[in-house]
């Protein structure tokens, strides 16, 4: 993270030492910034280096609560950056040190995770989690959109069933629904495979939530949009399809993504139907190898990676669907 500091310092015409440990990386970055220097007028904001740009992308731009900083403001920000960086580094070091001091980083504690059968087991569990998420999401999203359309329809014939469905399904705890599928369906003579015993309850609850998200997105659109569409001679459904829904989807992208993350976490209920997913895998591994903390740490990292990938894909899809919405910034996860 040091290069950021150098860049800022170079850009704002400050001496380029500030006591940070030099590394090849930071030297490179500083050089990069200083070659760019002549093109930058003294008062203009610093031209971001590649790393700064990357961090900006991760950190996101600020929300326009501030005036663009002047030279003194930039200096203050640079100092604050340095201080906060040091503090964060100290925090990270303290954590690692504590773990190391108590032998938790010892290779023996982690050896089991290097064995192929165990990795294979974890990957199987991961794939199960991903599959549940993808399949549930792929069914629940369109279903939610249909339900939202139903709730927004003008005929009570469509509106009422959709409204009742959404209200009821959001009120039923997912676990109860899973139990209902587990105990209820066989009594009715329906036998579902394990996978679908988990997927359908997830789909039914999440479709209701997705419907609400879509609907709030539609309602948040300026009414002028619909009116303009009608004025152009489009009927209700065409206006919905061509004008309202595309905008609503973009508007609600952040909410949709966080609901998808929640959906992924819903899959941890898989143990109820003895479906092997990640959390279950952690529990089994912890019991098998007596390394509860290590097993859960590994699984936690996997959850973070998967959810980040999920959010990244969603963001990419959103951009493909027509770029970031004009009024708001990037979606957050």
């Amino acid at each position: 993270m040091t290069p950021v500091l150098h860049n800022k310092a170079a850009g704002s015409g400050l001496p380029e030492s500030s006591g940070t440990p030099g590394s090849a990386d930071s030297a490179h970055s500083a050089a990069h910034a200083s070659t760019g220097q002549p093109a930058v007028p003294a008062t203009a904001p610093p031209r971001p280096g590649r790393l700064t740009a990357l961090l900006e992308a991760v950190g996101g731009a600020d929300d326009g609560l501030f005036d663009p900083p002047g030279p003194r403001g930039r200096r203050r920000i640079a100092v604050a950056s340095a201080v906060s960086l040091l503090a964060l580094a100290a925090l990270a070091w303290a954590v690692v040190h504590q773990f190391d001091a108590h032998g938790q980083l010892h290779a023996a504690q982690w050896r089991i995770f290097g064995q192929w059968p165990v990795l294979h087991y974890l990957l199987t569990a991961l794939w199960a989690t991903v599959r549940v998420t993808l399949v549930s999401g792929a069914i629940a999203l369109p279903l939610g959109a249909l339900l939202a359309l139903g709730r927004l329809a003008r005929t009570p014939l469509l509106r009422w069933p959709a409204t009742v469905y959404v209200e009821v399904l959001r009120a039923v705890p997912l676990l109860l629904l899973i139990y209902a599928f587990l105990f209820g369906l066989p009594t009715a003579g329906v036998h579902l495979p394990l996978f679908w015993q988990l997927v359908w309850p997830i789909v039914f609850t999440n479709a209701a939530v997705f419907a609400e998200i879509f609907r709030s997105g539609v309602r948040a659109l300026p009414r002028g949009q619909t009116e303009a569409a009608y004025a152009l001679g489009l009927n209700h459904w065409t206006a919905m399809r061509l004008v309202v829904l595309p905008q609503a989807v973009r508007q609600t992208a952040p909410a949709l993504v966080s609901q998808l993350v929640r959906l992924l976490k819903d899959s941890t209920l898989g143990y109820v139907v003895s479906f092997l997913e990640l959390l279950n895998a952690a529990k089994v591994l912890g019991e098998f190898d007596h390394t509860v903390v290590q097993a859960y740490l590994v699984v936690a990292v996997v959850y973070v990676l998967v959810n980040t990938a999920l959010a990244g894909t969603a963001g990419w899809l959103e951009r493909r669907l027509g770029g970031p919405s004009p009024t708001r910034g990037r979606p957050t996860v």
Partner: protein, 215 residues
Amino acid sequence: MGLIADHIGVFGSGLRVSAEISACTFVLAALLGAVLAVCRISPVLPLRVFSRLYVAVLRSIPLLVLLTLFVFGLPEIGIVYSLQWTAVTAMSLYWAAFFCEVLRAGVRAVPRGQIEAARALGLGFGQTLRLVVLPQAARSIIQPAASLLIAVTLNSSLAAAVGVTQELTGQTELLDQQYAQPLVTFGAAAVAYVAIALCVGRLAGFLDRKMAVTR
């Protein structure tokens, strides 16, 4: 049902511990969430990056995983304190990520024109935040914050999975073990949780109406 009536005291004490855990978690998460939100909108890039990563990571991990890591992980690195507070720590850190997002959304919900107008009037950053942004943000925060409180309360039941057996779910588990009547015992506990959720929701609705302004 007589089973529930006979053990109403058990449910009462369980409910008290659950309320304690939830309240502590909620307050701590709110404080930490506020700090994170300030980091998130600050002009200091490392803080923004940290806050954003924190939120992304903490929201990705199932709460049960986080709880297990804290309860069994902290003693491994030499930090042991009461189980209940360990659980509160983990849950506060988890919910702070959600709180940060709620607060940030609240600030973002204030129309940009308001901020620009405040600046045009010559108000500084602090004044803008205090006099213009926060009062308006507070109103739009009430509802999501209430939802969060409900979520915190309901999810406090996860503490039972890591040995905080004094709380409602843990007590219910003990009763169920003794009488083998999961439908009755857990049904009663579920009713208690739903009742809490309803009360909090009503309170929030009331506050919301009181503070409502038309823009």
